[in-house]
Amino acid sequence: MLKPVGYKTDEHRAYQQALDDFGITELLAKLNTYSDADFDSAWIQPQQQELETLAAILISQLTHSINGKLIANYLNLIRHSHQDIAPGLINLKYPDASVSLPVNFPDIAKTPRFLYGDRLRWLSTESDTDWGIVIGRFYSYAPHHCCWAWCYLIWLSQDSPSTAWTSTDIAWEEDLEPTSEETNL
């Protein structure tokens, strides 16, 4: 079983140092106190988990929107030891965060990757990940991507670790992969 979180371990200190080094601590602090005409954190009072998700989305957006001109400009500034890198160089686009069902559903929805009866397991680095057979699916809003995605209902295998207390569970499509193992479903 997983050990409880150790807040004073070397591993945690290294993690915190990385957050500081890459400006994520600063980003989280700014999001927590941010205020302008469109967003006032004092009024909204975002939770810590919401702040972390927001920071992850913003960083992901930057990764996707980055281009050669942007990289070249920043690299030029870094090489010439300019400390004040102009924040205006970054131009982020906001995702469509509407939680309403897309009006052109189901035309806009991607074709589901998996079919009823497919044998799947949860993607994991752990050796005791759960697996089972697809018995249903539904289209749902995925808050971790700010978009709609397919979700699957899995009937757990009798050999799956969690079958001792539950026979089914749901999972997002991206969290599942086909399993080639011969399992007793």
Partner: protein
Amino acid sequence: MNPHQLKQREQDLIQLYSYCQLGMTPKQFYSKWQVNYEEIAQICSRSLSTVRRWFARGKNYRRPMPTDLRHLALMNFLLEHFEDIPEELLHKLCFPDKSE
């Protein structure tokens, strides 16, 4: 057996229950009670694989469903107030089949 007719009391209780904001996040529960991920999975009737994602960071993090938050809040309530519940009520709550 005929169903009970709803009076004002019952209607008020249904409204209270329907809009009740009772909820507790897995992280709050985990930091308050010395449980492991398997026990949280049992409380919420979820797989261990799902619960691990509630505690993951970054792109592997997945948000629990509102029903999961309700399960944990109810478990927290029971853990805190178990001894305050009269025995007769406790049996009806935990062993409904034997109470009838």
